[in-house]
Symmetry: C2
Subunit: 215 residues, 2 copies
DNA sequence: TCAACAATTGACCAATGGGATAATAAAATG
DNA sequence: CATTTTATTATCCCATTGGTCAATTGTTGA
């Protein structure tokens, strides 16, 4: 199934990451899958369209992925990785708890990511979560990481209990703003979205009982 | 197309609402459609399954609806109406601005509505919005009403500008919490959700500049 | 150069989907 | 009662889909 043979073959495109040709194709294909998802939604996403998008034949798609499900599961992983990297990159440059919060918030609304098409594809995948165990697991991981990122900042700003509440609120608010973007493109700008979440955090921190910072 | 003839025929089941037989069937069918959507998602929702769910033949479905699209558009309208009624009912009993806010909030998380299956169907429909002009319009109306309901309460509590911001935040937060329910059933309870939104409102009202009430 | 192997394609298949149609049953109407 | 509508079903059609398979074409490596 997985071609585990000659793991360390020739250094081709990216010697650092030791990509095998098969890995490259797989990446192309799941990106193509995602692109199709953006245009067609889950109902209209067919193997043939994915193949066309990747400039290949349908056969090749099933050569690299056991079946349609697996393909789109990988597509979701890919999309998540991108989103996640945006956050992590900013998180690395953050020094104070508040900066960590902002990193998460701003990372989630990065200019080139916070776009309707991406949101549409995302929505389609989310809609399948209840019927796809794997998708559910991926989704769970994503959420857990998001939460953990938030808590890393919040623990310096609020009591553990409050931090939990706020983290939930922030994730929900972010998701809701994305949804808004998907349902009515243009109804919410990146800046508006960021402001919304930041205001939320500010409001919560002001309301909840303050903690002895650095305790 | 629409049988506009004998609009006021015999009083059958619901004399008040003047339901014709065709209206009853149509309602049955769009409810069946919604039920299928809950189980199968948009990708798995077929006319045959809808027919089966309604205990009828596939033919009958296309007898009452021009095509699949139209059927699901009506399903969305139906679902929305239910949600909306929950809010409106509570709204009628609200007397103060704050009570109006709570009415909207609590109505959106009513016990028998805030359930994963309903959320799943909802998600599937939302995912199709970008590709279905009609769905988009319905969605727009829904959001507008929600907003208006919120503003009717908020205008007594904050400046118009702030009210707009808060209304956006509340809708996004509500949507986000629903999404959470759909993606991880059980991860957020009705009570938690309500508390989250109320806290948000409280935090915002405390933070933004207060207004001269009744001015 | 030749064998082994990976990549890639195209043809094929059975199943299913949406939708059209015609035939039939059931009412409603005058 | 006869006729005109409406309700409902069964059948057919054709395009599409996910998936399999055998055949072809490089590539690699000894």
């Amino acid at each position: 199934m997985d071609r585990n043979v000659n793991v360390d073959s020739h250094a081709w495109i990216d010697p650092v990451k030791l990509k095998r040709l098969s890995d490259i194709r797989r990446k192309e294909l799941r990106q193509a899958a995602f692109a199709v998802l953006e245009r067609e939604g889950i109902a209209g996403a067919t193997l043939e369209k994915v193949a066309a998008q990747a400039g290949a034949s349908k056969g090749i798609v099933l050569h690299y992925f056991r079946n349609k499900q697996e393909l789109f599961e990988h597509a979701m992983r890919e999309a998540n990785a991108v989103l996640c990297n945006a956050v992590v990159a900013r998180l690395r440059r953050a020094r104070t708890p508040m900066e960590r919060m902002d990193a998460v918030i701003e990372g989630n609304f990065e200019e080139h990511l916070f776009q309707p098409p991406l949101c549409h594809a995302w929505l389609s995948l989310c809609a399948e979560v209840p019927r796809d165990e794997k998708l559910a697991r991926i989704q769970k991981v994503i959420h857990a990481r998001m939460r953990s990122n938030l808590l890393s900042g919040l623990h310096g700003l609020a009591s553990p209990r409050d931090a939990d509440d706020i983290a939930l609120g922030v994730t929900a608010l972010i998701d809701g703003l994305w949804l808004r973007l998907g349902l009515q493109p243009g109804s919410v700008s990146r800046e508006q979205a960021i402001l919304q979440v930041k205001n939320y955090v500010a409001g919560q921190l002001a309301t909840k009982e303050p903690v002895i910072v650095g305790a």
